[in-house]
């Protein structure tokens, strides 16, 4: 089995995680009498995971550079408040309510302030040499306090109608046909990437994977894409919403016409775009290479001429930008911005990243892993909620799972680390 996987050049750890996720899903499905693996629940799961998943992508880079960011939940809080005020109080004075540009301007403001906040923390870590743990622990208090200050504790609502699409919900999906188009693009992308990579290696006469492994890899990846889209398209709008749409389009109300698919929720689409962007950045750009080099040996990185201080600022600023995106998703999902938004998210994010196989010692980390890690955490929480487990017991279980996950990962890694490879 291990030899097979290594022939296919698949990350063993990732496969292990996926299997754990599958076991959790099947387990909850059996325990809940078939209510877990349903299009509706999986749709909700994806929307609930989105905010943590986006931040987890950035946290991977932070932890790989041997730092930590404890302030992401608080940053999310203050950014959500700022964006709430911008779209609900400031912009309507000039543009009126629900202007089509409001959501974009709001998000832009959030992204810029997020980058600035992250950049300030990064500068304190990189240039002033204060440990990231302390800087961001301070940041946790500062930004959570600031979140209250933005409106003196008042919850901001209602938000801009277009902005709220970022959170999913009935309108916040792209529908069946667009979902199929996304699937098609993804599958073409997978095939293209496989061919390009193989050609590149062949042109230098490097050893390549056996052809069957290429086919299997591409088939599995394509299969996952199709499975996701089919599932999300199998979740139909509630009858009343569907009737309203049919009336608007002037179509007759028949049982078939009533089956209008949700398709990809916008938050999931955002997660996919963020993840692709960060995977490309971490593997295919100098920036990403330097992040890993700094984590592997900070001295070597500095001696190789890498400006590690500026890199630190950039990595933290990127984290701030992702917090702004997450802030938009979570506040849009709740349709309001409250100053306690994102409380304890730093722990969820770090847990997701660590479960996903990123080493706190730095130098090693995977964005795919962090995404699955986020899904594992959210699945446990949703699954237990579905079974009616007490919130206090949920925390206990999730805490234990976190420790167990890291232990088993280290244990398996020690046992299976093959000295000959």
């Amino acid at each position: 089995m291990y030899r097979l996987l290594s022939k296919m050049e698949v990350d063993r750890r990732l496969v292990g995680l996926a299997i754990v996720l599958l076991i959790i899903w099947v387990g909850f499905d059996l325990a809940s009498g078939g209510r877990f693996i349903t299009p509706r629940n999986l749709f909700n799961l994806s929307v609930q995971t989105a905010s943590v998943a986006v931040m987890a992508c950035g946290m991977v880079l932070i932890i790989v550079t041997r730092h930590i960011d404890l302030s992401v939940g608080a940053m999310l809080g203050v950014l959500a408040m700022i964006m709430g005020v911008v779209q609900a109080d400031l912009l309507p004075q000039y543009l009126g309510y629900n202007h089509p540009a409001t959501w974009a301007l709001t998000l832009l403001v959030g992204l810029i302030i997020g980058a600035a906040i992250g950049g300030i923390q990064g500068a304190a870590v990189g240039y002033l040499g204060v440990p990231a743990f302390i800087v961001t622990l301070g940041g946790l208090l500062v930004w959570r306090g600031s979140a209250w200050w933005v409106t003196q504790g008042r919850t901001v609502a209602p938000l801009d109608a277009n902005f709220m699409l970022l959170g999913g919900g009935i309108d916040g999906t792209i529908g069946a046909s667009w979902s199929w188009i996304v699937a098609l693009v993804a599958i073409i992308g997978i095939i293209y990437a496989t061919i390009i990579e193989r050609r590149r290696r062949l042109s230098f006469k490097f050893p390549v994977k056996p052809l069957w492994a290429e086919y299997t890899n591409a088939l599995i990846k394509g299969g996952i894409v199709l499975a996701i889209i089919i599932t999300l398209n199998a979740y139909y709008l509630p009858t009343r919403a569907a009737e309203a749409i049919l009336a608007e389009r002037g179509l007759p109300v028949t049982p078939e016409n009533l089956q209008i698919s949700h398709g990809l929720p916008i938050p999931l689409l955002i997660v996919i775009l963020v993840a692709i962007a960060l995977i490309v950045v971490s593997r295919r750009t100098r920036f990403g290479r330097y992040v890993f080099a700094m984590g592997g040996n900070p001295q070597a990185a500095a001696l190789a001429g890498i400006d590690t201080k500026r890199m630190t600022v950039a990595v933290f600023a990127l984290m701030g930008v992702l917090c702004a995106i997450s802030a938009a998703i979570s506040s849009a999902r709740l349709q309001s911005a409250g100053n306690d938004l994102g409380t304890l998210d730093e722990l969820r994010v770090i847990a997701a990243v660590v479960i996903g196989g990123t080493s706190l010692a730095g130098g090693v980390g995977s964005i795919y892993g962090a995404l699955i890690g986020a899904l594992v955490m959210q699945s446990l929480q949703s699954g237990m909620a579905l079974l009616g487990v007490d919130t206090s017991l949920q925390s206990i279980v999730i805490g234990l799972v976190l420790v167990l996950a890291v232990f088993s990962d280290q244990y398996l890694n020690r046992r299976h680390s093959d000295p000959t490879t």
Partner: protein, 279 residues
Amino acid sequence: MTTDIRPLVEMRDIHISFGGVKAVDGVSIDLYPGEVVGVLGHNGAGKSTLIKILSGAYVADSGTVIVDGKEARIENARDARDHNIETIYQNLALADNLDAAQNLFLGREITDRFGFLNDAAMEHKAREVLHRLNPNFQKFASPVSALSGGQRQSVAIARALLFEARVLIMDEPCAALGVHETRMVGDLIAQLKQDGLGILLISHDLHDVFDLSDRLHVMKNGKLVGSVRTEDVTHDDVLGMIILGKMPQHLLHLAGPGATNIHGATLRPQDTETTGPTL
């Protein structure tokens, strides 16, 4: 050595102190093409600090560095590299989690026309260079943490060669290596010397560098004890220089400011205490 050839590198009257401690105090050394020069001294003698000034890790408080007859400003690792000065550090400055090719090109990656990394091209070049150095090298897909000491040293040296180093600084080149691998590095150095590189070997262990070097610069307490040709001295002479700062009698005219047995200077108490009776 040849006096009519211009030195590759000259460091003149270099001073640097850290919090009042004079780590390097008025040291001048030079290096000619095709020459291997050992820089020797105890731990704390200032040899590593001196060399880090040349490789851009520290900036000297005063003094000049002359490369190819022209004064060079070296303020960081990049500047040093621009003058074709490459350093291979004691702790084998490789990022353990990256593979050989990624380490070779760290800081100077090959990118495609869109600015994305071209790993295949880098691996291709890495295979070329590494096979020339070490025909048995195979592990291109594993992180360098999986390599042996000698293989890691090969990667570090290949890294320098890849970027057309003319001056190679090797800090404790054999510290992490076994007998066989030490011999391999010795062969490598001989080969590089043939190619006309100037090589500075930094070591606190005389035996590592005595046989490899043409000349030796010996430092003590931040000062130069003296620069001697290896053929003019014995192991004991050099040990005397390293431990006591004492120039051999027949070479007194070459003594530097750090020598303890000239200008009427006597051995200082702390020297005799730590080393016992004079040699």
